[in-house]
Symmetry: D2
Subunit: 343 residues, 4 copies
């Protein structure tokens, strides 16, 4: 059994991690911590865990955590993770960090979009971006995983095959993404009150979201050249899930056939042939949130027109977009079947 | 034109008052105030009012309000109203107070349920409880209206005819009420975040809600003897509306016929015969929130069984349960047709 | 491995059964059938099962099902189950029927409330009502389980301890129940369209619901005398869950202490001491749907006042109220740990 | 008073028309008709209209309607309107048709996208496309209004100023639109059941929606050359409203300044300077559905980047996208203030 700890257990991602880890046959949760007013059973904070786990939720103390755990998940807000990662790694622990603190290799982008000074710069380059579909072999050996953001996960998985096959005009990528509200975390702000969001819908941070540089970084890696997408997120009046509609222009003269393929769909099917959590829809079928909610799957549908390729993709933002992918990464590191506890 | 002011314009009830008053043909909004960080147009705070009103929303100053308005609506939190009422009334203004501050005649009940000391006790007895269906003639001459709470409005309208006709066992009244989320106001608390309420439902303040003494006070007045109901509110995952299901036992030996009526429905129809905003459903038909949302109506359905009478009633908590009833009271005071601006 | 079949796999309960059984470590789904227009993979009908199950969904043929399965779940509409049960049982199969066809021992009540003639009367008396908390020992040996209705499950679990301890006036029980929309099944009726239910709430079948006789039958069994409850169901604008608020009057002179207990809560705790799926809340705490949604738990909270005892209880209507309880029953029959596949 | 009739009163657009017309000070509803099983009061079909209107809803009879009305609104399904328009116009009535039957000038496009043969071809060219912001002077004199579709209304209003000012690459327009469920009408299909849509989100008719040719037709008119947009609609889990996010590439070398303007926002402000129902947001502000729901406004926000202009626009699909715009057209035809009954 892997002894695991969850730091930041009271947020939505932390709650979801607990739910997953409680069902995981190879894991024992040994530490549950968070910024809290008073120590109390995690089953009192989340009554849904009553009769299922009897650990206390305490303030995180690195030494205690290091003593109790082999692997630690950090479900902390951005800028808080980097305050605890050095000590945990110093104690020899494997860390899977769900925050953005170690995702961006370009420190300037991080400091611009997260509006802070990075306090652990040298470690950034050692962190592995935890998207198994691109970096599985590196994840296997990683000690520090920068678990991808929710929007980047669905965006990168959607566009990578097109870039690798050089099917599209690199400057043409437009990502129109729509996310459920848990994506914002358990944040106390008027804009997240029920009566504000219910029966409402809006765009926000239009082409200025902190996940843009993360998407650009990873798509540039795939393309081997600089990629800059247009990215507009929207807020859906529902709890879970991201659906992204992605518009691209075909590279001039380039067709799937020119790339030696039957169709764009076949390009995707080949790219993800061995992936347990990516499902490519047949022609004419497209994803809906309901099919991925509560799962670790990313569903991708493809519409090829004369000049454009439109991709529609969906994930559960708390699972493949956060806690589920974190557990997938843990499984890879631990040498387990990647679907353990996730099917 | 009546020159009116709204104090507390940035809450849900205040917002709703503005929407109603903007459509009211006999009213000119001359003052819009609230506790705010900086003075700005109300149409910036609520973009939906853009192109419709160009007043600034300022901090409330009694002298200024008194100068600009004939009648003032207070859409303030409980305990805040009583701090401004004395000065406004001292300046000769008519005040319609949507808070609970002047509703309870028993000061001990007020201080117990609102957990504060009342600062304007003598004025309580001069305030008129603003339920037109019971107190229209007194409202006409009132200078201070204690506008009823949302739960009490639907509860009192539902039970009053049964008590007046002495059809039920007075000790048997059980009110199971379900309210939309705007009933709680624009309150910044974790429990009111979208992801907490969406797809959830729960009871709260079980038989211990601050609206219980208000319901008991008014039903006791109708019955001419002390009435104590069991009252359990619940929180619905929707924006607007209250639906109450009310269980009563028939008084022994008492039937509608014994009371000289064809049916319980006919008792209700007679009781509300001249009321523009109470609609009694035909036998076998019952209210739903959709039919009253956005209106000032109270819809009431009746199910008579051998031993029990079950009432189902619905209102829009922001209209008949707050802002709409306040405007209805203003219309009465001003000698206007009661439906003006409300139909 | 138990080879199981699901008949009626395309409804909400069938879909939920598949989801549960796919995760169950001791089960192999060998047959998936439903009334359908054409044979196709169940993973095409429900794309969320893609990559997880590759069976075809066919029209049910008893001989084929009997050949492929040890145990068969029937997730069929009422009146349809009794057409297939005789043949399946004739073939020696264990049947867990989620419909109402074998629940009511009083054939007249069945025929009145389900508006049909029963076609398999003799078998009714052999069926075991599948509520493990009351009938576990009989379930162990059963060949035909009448899996309880969703409203009855939460109602019976809520009231049984009070009746057994004789704490309440038997004629005083009022059950005000609120259910999510999946409780109605995948029914094509205008009243179940999104725009009709969203932002709406209403009561229906007021004290006239087909689950009333089922509740009365089982509570009468517990009380050892005839019990008739008042039961009013309501429709919540959400997918999953039932919350019931239950009002009872204390038996005169009867208190928990008189019954030799510290408190009503302790009566419940003792009654359900060994039950894996019933959680009694501490004093002052009450259930919410979120805590039971997606689980097989029934959460129960208790409010004792001078003259009344109010119970608030919650289940997931598709799990403890249907598919989850069916799997719990299967576990009992198969001699497995009762929580297998359900935790 | 204008005597008006509503044909197709039982659909969502018809219901909305009734609500608007009941509040309209210059209108008397004299006829309410629909395909129905039996004649009954419209206030029984829609209990929310109880105490407000006492007309019977009957099957439409042209002679009767022509006798009772000066102006007739048709809130009928596509292909049904054209069966009744000739007779109504033959009787000299002014007709405002909310269906698509007279919108498309290119008969082939109509027949392809609506999958039917047009039965009243000659009259198409006489119909005026009822978008006041483009065709006010023609609407004034029209006898037959083809009231625009909901998606086309928001799309055309969003893009027209860019095309007129020649600021964008005509081939670059991508419209990612998200609509509430009432947009689909009161249609009995599994896909519109509450449990299917609640907590779900999806794209549909990807770049193949029947509103595409309507958008293309009108934008081509504005541009003076053929425009073909990419248009992808999505279904939001809420009742009312469309929000569209529109991506365009700036015309090479073309800037707002080059067009003699300060900014793209100023281009919009000038274009809509006299429009009562179009509100242009200030820089950095963008529409949300809540601000337009229940109103006839179209709110438009603009984001100008180096190479792209992104427009976010919102309307209420049942008002500016259907019934509200129909009343606006009636006001224009009748020579009334355009906001009468709509503010």
């Amino acid at each position: 059994m892997i002894r695991v700890g969850v730091v930041g257990a009271t947020g939505y991602a932390g709650e979801e991690l607990l739910a997953l880890l409680l069902r995981h046959p190879k894991v024992k949760i040994t530490s549950v911590t968070a910024k809290i007013d008073k120590v109390q059973p995690i089953s009192v904070i989340f009554p849904k865990f009553a009769n299922r786990i009897d650990l206390l939720c305490k303030e995180p103390e690195v030494e205690e955590i290091a003593h109790e755990c082999d692997l630690v998940f950090l479900a902390l807000p951005h800028t808080v993770s980097m305050e605890i990662v050095p000590a945990l790694m110093g104690a020899g622990k494997t860390v899977i960090d769900l925050s953005a603190d170690y995702r961006l290799k370009d420190i300037k982008q991080y400091e611009k979009f997260y509006n802070t000074v990075h306090k652990d710069v040298p470690r950034i380059s050692t962190a592995v971006y935890g998207l198994p579909e691109l970096y599985r072999s590196r994840i296997k050996k990683a000690k520090l995983i920068a678990n991808p953001g929710c929007y980047p996960t669905v965006s990168i998985l959607s566009v990578a095959p097109l870039l690798e096959a050089k099917l599209i005009d690199i400057g043409s990528i437009i990502i129109d993404a729509k996310s459920g509200v848990t994506g914002a975390g358990r944040k106390l702000a008027e804009g997240f009150l029920f009566s504000e969001i219910n029966e409402d819908f809006k765009a926000y941070k239009i082409n200025n979201h902190q996940h843009s540089p993360e998407i650009n970084q990873e798509l540039s890696n795939v393309a081997g050249t600089k990629v800059e997408v247009i990215f507009v997120p929207h807020l859906l009046p529902l709890n879970r899930g991201i659906l992204a509609t992605i518009y691209t222009k075909k590279a001039q003269g380039k067709t799937a056939k020119a790339a030696g393929k039957d169709s764009v769909i076949s390009v995707y099917k080949k790219f993800y042939a061995k992936e347990p959590f990516v499902r490519i829809k047949e022609e004419g079928s497209f994803p809906r949130l309901k099919d991925v909610a509560g799962t670790n799957f990313c569903d991708i549908g493809i519409k090829e027109d004369d000049n454009s390729i439109i991709i529609v993709a969906a994930i559960d933002n708390l699972l493949k977009g956060a806690a589920g992918q974190a557990v997938q990464n843990m499984n890879i590191i631990a040498g387990l079947d990647e679907m353990t506890g996730l099917a």
